[in-house]
């Protein structure tokens, strides 16, 4: 029986293709990375091998089955070039702002040709992670892998095992980014079923200010899997806006872990959009590890057809006088299912915390489902915390009000749905991004089936 005893976990059939690709990845090119990176990858891979893919018996995955992700033999996208992207085509994804500094990744691979980082303030680094690991490892090492922990999830472990492609953004102390940094990930896989593991590290130095856009777009012929890990450090008195826009192809899978770490008096404003993918899951964690920290988390998810969108957020108040404000809204149509789980933890030291969390869902079809669970855990005694969740349908009185003014029922429903989402979209401070999201929402409401 010694056959069965040899490396038992690694032979698990659903991991075989990852094992094969990891061997290739390690042999080919990846060796150029510093020793600590190679060690981190190896550690991560070992963790991945030991862990099991979650099932719906796991509390964190109670309403979301990753079975389709586990079942498909995803191969590493960087080994299988997909369809080419012309400059003209890529430009349609720039929010009409070709002047914004950007890094473009096609099927997980950095494209020098499509990227442009001119006009950045002195000292600011925006570069692909592989390059940063070669040229500025001392700036990366203190942060990379320190916030997205391998034990958090098998997907974080997997992503870290293949750590390489991705983006590094560094704002030195006191710098102000006038233009947002746009990180654009486009998938164009054609023949193979592929996976990319984008890794993003953003370090905002003390007193710096800036905005980052993480933008996922798909136009692919095959199912693909984006397994994203993002780490963000917001230094003392720094202020960072972070937009994560997920508009992947309808047959794709998008699983992302976003780990944010905030120091004293910093402000982090996160906005998450989920409009694409057949299965989308965000785990968005913010640690308020300093006093007088302010955190805003806003999210909008739009699911129709058979889409499944899951947002797990966690806000961890560790120090006094922190503020966190969270608003997530969902529009769920067709046979789609949306999951929201929002945790707010107020530790004993986090006195005078002011926290407000809201999740509102609009269900447009009898077959759509929403599971929402706001959770509040408070260990400090002098705090102001509220939370609440609603799941509702369009208000018939409001529909009548609009029809009584000459607007037909279908348009009335659209207008109300748009209005429902609008207050979250209005929290997007970058005007060109907001305008695009508004236009897309209106277009989607126009074509979608919104009959009851």
């Amino acid at each position: 029986m010694n056959v069965g005893l040899s490396i038992p976990t690694l032979t698990a059939p659903e991991k075989a293709h990852y094992v094969a690709d990891f061997e290739l990845f390690n042999k080919n090119g990846a060796t150029a990375a510093p020793a600590w990176v190679r060690q981190l990858r190896r550690q991560a891979f070992d963790r991945f091998a030991e862990m099991n893919f979650p099932t719906m018996k796991d509390e964190e995955w109670k309403y979301t089955s990753v079975a389709p992700v586990v079942k498909l033999p995803f191969r590493l996208a960087s080994k299988y070039p997909g369809g080419a992207l012309s400059k003209t085509e890529i430009e349609t994804h720039f929010f009409g702002q070709p002047g914004w500094p950007r890094l473009v990744f096609v099927n997980g691979i950095f494209s020098t040709e499509l990227s442009s980082i001119s006009g950045l303030p002195k000292g600011v680094l925006v570069k692909c992670l592989e390059e940063a690991l070669k040229e500025n490892p001392e700036w990366v090492e203190p942060y990379l892998g320190k916030y997205a922990r391998l034990n958090d999830s098998i997907f974080t472990a997997l992503g870290t095992a293949f750590l390489g492609e991705g983006a590094f953004v560094y704002l030195p102390a006191g710098t102000i980014l006038e233009k947002p940094v746009h990180l654009l990930f486009v998938s164009t896989t054609e023949k193979e079923v592929t996976v990319a593991h984008p890794r993003i590290l953003v370090v905002a130095g003390a007193g710096s200010r800036g905005a980052i856009i993480e933008n996922y777009i798909g136009r692919s012929a095959q199912p693909y899997f984006s397994n994203v890990v993002t780490e963000i450090v917001v230094g003392e008195k720094a202020s960072l806006e972070h937009y994560k826009l997920q508009r992947e192809d309808e047959h794709s899978f998008h699983i992302a872990a976003t780990e944010v770490y905030q120091r004293d008096k910093s402000t982090y404003s996160g906005f998450t959009l989920d409009a694409g993918a057949q299965l989308g899951r965000n785990t968005h964690r913010v640690v308020l590890d300093g006093s007088e920290v302010e955190c805003h988390l806003n999210g909008l998810y739009i699911a129709s057809g058979k889409q499944h969108i899951d947002n797990h957020t966690a806000i961890d108040h560790r120090c006094p006088n922190g503020k966190s404000f969270e608003v997530y809204k969902g529009i769920v149509d067709g046979r789609a299912r949306a999951v929201y789980n929002g945790k707010v933890l107020v530790r004993q030291a986090a006195q005078k915390t002011d926290s407000k969390q809201t999740n509102k869902n609009l269900i447009l079809s009898d077959l759509a489902t929403v599971d929402t669970k706001p959770q509040l855990e408070i260990f400090a005694d002098d705090v102001k915390c509220t939370h609440g969740a609603t799941v509702g349908q369009l208000d018939e009185n409001a529909i009548f009000y609009l029809t009584a003014r000459g607007i037909n029922r279908q348009n009335a429903a659209r207008l109300l749905t748009f209005g429902f989402a609008n207050d979250v979209i209005n929290r997007v401070k970058l005007e060109p991004v907001r305008a695009e999201l508004e236009a897309e929402l209106l277009a989607r409401l126009e074509t979608g089936s919104h009959t009851k």
């Binding site: 208000d395 018939e396 009185n397 409001a398 009548f400 009000y401 609009l402 029809t403 009584a404 003014r405 000459g406 607007i407 037909n408 029922r409 348009n411 207008l415 109300l416 748009f418 209005g419 429902f420 989402a421 609008n422 207050d423």
Partner: protein, 254 residues
């Protein structure tokens, strides 16, 4: 313009209107008065097409067409406007956007060209001047966070923009202070034209000090118990609705 014949209406199986007859000609202002629960608001809502109400019997003709067969939006496009007793809040949709949508639906229906955002803003500004409306109103979400008075004024502002042929005001005067009442009354008077008509539903005589009706009808228990001229409202003010009720009982018994 509007002719209601023997209209009987129920809500949840309970008969509220028990045979209403009313004829409104172009150029006229009719006040429909009555105590709480008499069916005044039901009448307004049925005319606007609210789906909760079931018409059991009777007919309503508007400009020669069967009004009851028309969808609420088609009634609006044909010039019927109801000012809501309880205007609904529409978060996230600005007054300007909402009104332009409504205005353009009506224009399209008439075969006229739609107005773009700039052109419509011009029109809104004119109407705001006319109605003495605060500019900030147009960019605020429809009725959201409005006071009771602001909501009612917003209804009248919408009416001024949409210029209906038949305006039905469902207790627009209720709960208004005297200044707001004057604004509402001025809005109605501004729209008084030979080709238009107004049905003013009210509990109190007070608004009739500012809007002079051509006819006054008293609705009691789902029927029009009395009709008359302006003086009927004054008589009601003095003697109360019980007076009509008593007369009703006497005449029914006779």
């Amino acid at each position: 313009m509007l002719e209601i014949k023997n209209l009987k209406v129920a809500v949840g199986g309970k008969e509220i209107l028990k045979g209403i007859n009313l004829k409104v000609n172009a150029g006229e202002v009719h006040a429909v008065m009555g105590p709480n629960g008499s069916g005044k608001s039901t009448l307004a809502q049925v005319l606007a097409g609210h789906p909760t109400f079931q018409v059991i019997e009777g007919e309503v003709t508007y400009e020669g067409r069967n009004l009851l067969e028309m969808m609420p939006e088609d009634r609006a496009k044909e010039g019927v406007f109801m000012a809501f007793q309880y205007p609904v809040e529409i978060p996230g949709v600005s007054n300007a956007y909402f009104l332009r949508s409504a205005y353009n639906e009506i224009r399209r229906h008439k075969g006229e060209e739609e107005l773009d955002a700039m052109e419509f803003l011009k029109l809104l500004r004119q109407k705001m001047k006319l109605m003495n409306t605060d500019e900030s109103l147009i960019n605020r979400p429809v009725n959201e966070g409005f006071s009771g008075g602001e909501k009612k004024k917003n209804e009248i502002f919408q009416m001024a923009v949409l210029e209906p042929k038949l305006a039905i005001l469902d207790e627009t005067d209720s709960g208004l202070d005297i200044d707001a009442l004057k604004v509402v009354a001025a809005g109605v008077n501004n729209l008084r034209r030979p080709e238009r008509a107004t049905v003013l539903i009210t509990h109190y005589q007070r608004i009739l000090n500012y809007i002079t009706p051509d006819f006054v009808h008293v609705l009691v228990d789902g029927r029009i118990a009395r009709s008359g001229g302006r003086e009927l409202a004054l008589e009601l003010e003095e003697r109360g609705y019980d007076w009509v009720r008593e007369k009703e009982t006497v005449s029914a018994g006779a």
